[in-house]
Amino acid sequence: MAEIRVMREDLRPPAPPPKRHFISITDVTRDDVERLLATARTFERSLEREVKKLPTLKGRLVINVFYESSTRTSSSFELAAKRLSADTMSIKSSGSSVDKGESLKDTAITLGAYDPDVIVIRHPQIGAPQLVARVTEAHIVNAGDGKHQHPTQALLDLYTMRESLARLEGLHVAIVGDVLHSRVARSLIQALALMGAHVTLVGPPALLPRGIEAMGCETTTDIGAIAAADVVYILRMQRERMQEGANYVPSLREYTARWGVTPERLRPGQKVMHPGPMNRGVEIDPRVADHADALIETQVRAGLVTRMAVLYDLLTSGPIGVKTESALEVA
């Protein structure tokens, strides 16, 4: 009978490197962000051609799993994958086994059985992407988990700011509104701090979370503070997250009167951003939304190329610069 021996440690094949995911801004370094922004820039140029599709991720499978409604994030991830020639599949929680009470773990294992290269997940609960990462072999991209993180949104916002203002270091950004319920704000504060920008949070007291200054930002309830910023980043008043009787603010009317961003509260030349979807007339005056200094549409375009960059970065092992160019040349 064959003798079973335990293999000597030094004879074992080397363990595969840990899977790279993009779940939180805390997963990346400043160099990573620079690389991703540069890759996105390259992709933006490629999208100016007549034929926009690149063969880069041909044969790869990207599954989008959305447990929350989304227009821009889900469509831009889907288009990003398609522009890179990956196969895509989209699962929404309604009309799937989730309706039948399937747990996230089981859904993830089921999808994992198709050997996807990337799973893009949006989920209302913090920590859902980490759970999927534990039970599948795919690279995980967080497209928003509860109030925690939305890292590709932060990346597209950095991209937009740099394209418009030519710098991030030393930039002063005022983030206005419901920070408490905003994963966009959390990712953006970290991303801006990482790149050396200066952040001021402005909003009603109960919507500025206690202790948030430790993330590297200032807080104030005075809307007048936005005048000092280079960029005014307006958050959506998330009505669906406002529990009945929570009284974060007495009324939306009072919120708008006190913290709504109007032309009168802005300085000429200040750039205005909003992650969408906007509540015109609540957190943002329609005249601000439609003004030339608003970068809101630019943000949407940036979303496509930065998500292309994230998919590309996860599925190719760097250094990315050279490879990107050659991949584009093939195209």
């Binding site: 773990k105 609960q125 913090i126 920590g127 509860g146 202790g211 948030i212």
Partner: protein, 433 residues
């Protein structure tokens, strides 16, 4: 008040262990002889009287532990824990007695439900177990249970643990009426309008992670209310699982003013802070939540100076599938019976934060006193309630080793020091590693 299956008591000699009993002032290498489950002699080179001999060389012999706060999930969730599995886990953790909380399905709020538990314990409990009954019917906070009848039926105390008694008026009535039962009232202090939806301690970590905060003041406000009522009614009370600096301050003031209040703290609140939640591991989600470093420091100080006199595990078993979900969807609670000593030894005694003797007292006599139970002692004439500890044992906490039916331990995968070799409860050897 405590119930267990019956069995033969032991005749044995523990030879050459370092015997530590903080209350007796003992810390010496001694032999201990046990005749029929009762400590008969302490000394050097004791005659074995042809008793079985346990070699204690290199080990510590201490009074066995008492856990005043355990969830045995019976009746209703026997898939998570039973009286048999929970008491076996307790025996493996070095415990000679545990108290079970009444928030089961159904709630232990009638003599009939309590009676069934007592019968089960007499049939299958590996170590003595006591059962607390609810303060209010179905723990709804609106009507008192029949506390006198429940006490007669064997209730070890009263608690609505898991939820607070929201109404101050009803809390006052409970303290007044509780006095006639002679049993302790134990309170879960939480102001629900401040803690609602809260997932973790409100502070810098919750701000960054985006979790709804459960602020310290949600606990301390209720602690202050209940201490004020206890002072006014001149009644004793026991505060469950304190977590916040503000609560400790309130308790210290009240005790100085003569209020007969005792309190407990869990190993996880003594060992961890809210920084641990960054892992998003559902096994660091508990109520009350892990708090800040300054809260932890205050709890350690209170444990050392005797403001807090009991370490309680709040052993809360949960089914595997209920914890294998995102943090926000997971239920509160972690197991602790089998890891409590190793946790506090590794995290508190080894780094020099708390002396071993203090830990041993707070895990044994302290909790016993809080509920008026006999303190385990290593003295001639006392029932043998002993634990033999190997302080040098180092091991990795693994699911397979648990006797509990649940594995939701915050220590899974961690290498710890301090193992339980043998547990003797009520004169019987109930665990041998």
């Amino acid at each position: 008040m405590l119930f267990a299956k019956s069995g033969p008591t032991e005749n044995l000699v523990v030879r050459g262990a370092r015997v530590i009993d903080p209350l007796e002032g003992t810390d010496a290498v001694l032999d201990v002889r046990i005749d029929d489950g009762v400590i008969a002699a302490l000394g050097t080179d004791l005659d074995t009287n042809s008793h079985r001999v346990l070699d204690g060389d290199g080990l510590v012999l201490a009074p066995a532990f008492v856990d005043p706060h355990v969830h045995l999930r019976t009746p209703g969730r026997e898939d998570e824990e039973t009286i048999a599995s929970g008491t076996a886990a307790a025996a493996a953790g070095g415990y000679c007695a545990i108290l079970a909380m009444p928030n089961t399905e159904p709630i232990v709020d009638s003599a009939a439900t309590l009676g069934a538990l007592v019968e089960t314990a007499r049939a299958e409990a590996e170590i003595p177990v006591g059962f607390l009954a609810a303060i209010t019917k179905e723990q709804r906070g609106t009507e008192l249970t029949e506390m006198a009848e429940l006490a007669d039926a064997g209730a070890a105390g009263f608690s609505d643990d898991g939820v607070p008694v929201s109404s101050a008026g009803l809390m006052r009535r409970a303290l007044q009426y509780g006095a006639v039962t002679g049993r302790r009232i134990a309170l879960h202090c939480e102001e629900p309008t401040l803690s609602r939806e809260g997932q973790m301690h409100e502070g810098e970590v919750s701000a960054e992670l985006g979790f709804t905060g459960y602020p310290s003041v949600a606990e301390s406000l209720m602690v202050e209310r209940d201490l004020a009522l206890a002072a006014y009614e001149r009644q004793p009370l026991h505060l469950l699982h304190l977590s916040a600096w503000e609560s400790v301050q309130a308790l210290r003031r009240a005790r100085a003013d003569g209020v007969a209040a005792t309190a407990e703290v869990t190993p996880h609140h003594l060992c961890l802070t809210d920084e641990a939640v960054r892992s998003l591991d559902p096994n660091v989600k508990m109520n009350p939540p892990l708090r800040s470093a300054s809260d932890r420091t205050a709890l350690l100080e209170a444990l050392k100076d005797g403001t807090i006199t009991a370490i309680a595990t709040d052993h809360a078993p949960h089914a595997r599938h209920e914890k294998e979900v995102p943090f926000e969807a997971a239920p509160f609670g972690v197991t602790g019976l089998e890891t409590a000593f190793a946790a506090v030894y590794t995290h508190l005694v080894e780094p020099g934060l708390v002396p071993l003797a203090t830990i041993l007292e707070r895990m044994s006599a302290g909790p016993a006193r809080a509920y008026g139970l006999d303190e385990p002692r290593i003295a001639v004439g006392k029932t043998a309630n002993l634990v033999l500890l190997d302080l040098k044992a180092s091991y990795r906490v693994a699911e397979e080793s648990f006797r509990s039916r649940s594995v939701n331990s915050w220590l899974l995968g961690e290498t710890v020091k301090g193992g339980v070799r043998t547990t003797i409860a009520a004169g019987r050897v109930v665990f041998v590693a």
